[in-house]
Subunit: 233 residues, 2 copies
């Protein structure tokens, strides 16, 4: 991607980790060379999140972001609320082709961490390193915790959070991926199954929410297609 | 705007009615001349809806759309749920600068109708005429109807609906602006006060939702700014 951009060739990618690890560098290189660098499908697949937050909110200052960004983890937690054990929910997700045989990336939060890093880089302009993201998985959530949440009028979600530190410096951004207890009134509490969502607070707009399906090969293809159309235009 | 586009000058506007009445013509002229024509702030103000549905979902086929698109009407209905009469809620909206002295455009659905026509033109590529949009206002909603809705587990909202007719022809789109009873489970039922939202169904993505503040002079300015940045880029 670096080589392509250096030669003035536009880059469209659906490959998460290069963007997570080097998003700021690649975006700066693209800007310098005056060519597009787009990665829409890396976050929420075909649901347009990056273009909405980067281009739609151009001119605003992003302040914080919360999101449910892994469809598999969200599906498992939703099925556990419906009475399944973690193991049975995971098996169902695997049978549906939602979870891979080794589900570590989804259930331990690595996939959501990559997406948090992509959003930090491309929306907030801050390059995070994996060691700089607090990460806790959902694999140790048990039915008793789900029941306790339900009886409190709340839900457990794998939540991604990005927040500017109080110091206010653009370079300081705290990032977390962890199971969080969301009261039912929270807009993200109602985001169930394979639906994903992002709540971005930006000045002077306030909270903007984008919600939609977060996974699927056809949808990832759609994300790439929308990027290719943007490049062609 | 026609003259500017014909001369190859990009157009950014926050003026609803020209886009509502001639959106398809202006967008086609812009495409023909290879210059941008943008009107982000005409729908949901600074919340990026048009760019998300037109550019973010580029390559998809929009099928239907539902939206809460008038902040004043939504504020009045929300305050009526909290116990105010229609008249008191309207007065409060006027005191807050949300409603104009003559509130007809907001409460009788003309403003939402213009936004429905803009979305029909720029997202669905179908030019509607005012006479082709079913329009009913909220000014005759009374507290008894609000209470009846609440006791049924539902809410009354000023709802915009765009639907392709069953014939499936791209030219046939039905458009409605009317008070609608939304069950509390409906994602749009929870959209309260000055928050607006759009649910767009597009193939092959499914439902994409964009939610955010729908009014305010600073926000309208932000919508224009994001368009100017897009043009400059």
């Amino acid at each position: 991607m670096r080589d392509a951009l250096r030669r003035g060739i536009p880059v469209v990618t659906s490959n998460k980790w290069p963007v997570a690890l080097y998003g700021v560098e690649l975006a700066e290189l693209a800007r310098e060379k005056g060519v597009p660098f787009r990665a829409e499908s890396t976050v929420m697949s075909g649901t347009p999140v990056l273009s909405t937050l980067v281009e739609g909110l151009a001119g605003t200052t992003p302040v914080s972001l919360r999101g449910i960004l892994n469809a598999t983890a969200n599906f498992i937690l939703t099925r556990m609320e419906e009475g399944l054990s973690y193991e049975d929910a995971l098996t169902e997700a695997q049978d549906l082709g939602l979870a891979e045989r080794d589900p570590t990336a989804d259930v331990e939060g690595y996939d959501a961490m990559a997406k948090a890093m992509i959003l930090a880089g491309l929306v907030f302009g801050t390059q995070l390193r994996p060691g700089g993201v607090v990460r806790r998985g959902i694999s140790r959530i048990d039915p008793a915790q789900i029941d306790a949440a339900t009886s409190e009028g709340a839900r457990i979600k794998q939540l991604v959070t990005l927040e500017r530190s109080e110091a206010g410096s653009a370079a300081r951004l705290t990032a977390r991926v962890e199971p969080a207890l969301l009261p039912n009134e929270d807009r993200l509490a109602g985001v169930s199954g394979v639906v994903n969502a992002v709540v971005c607070r930006a000045e002077p707009v306030g909270e903007v929410i984008v919600m939609g399906p977060g996974a699927g090969p056809e949808l990832a293809g759609q994300g790439v297609l929308s990027d290719l159309i943007a490049v062609a235009r």
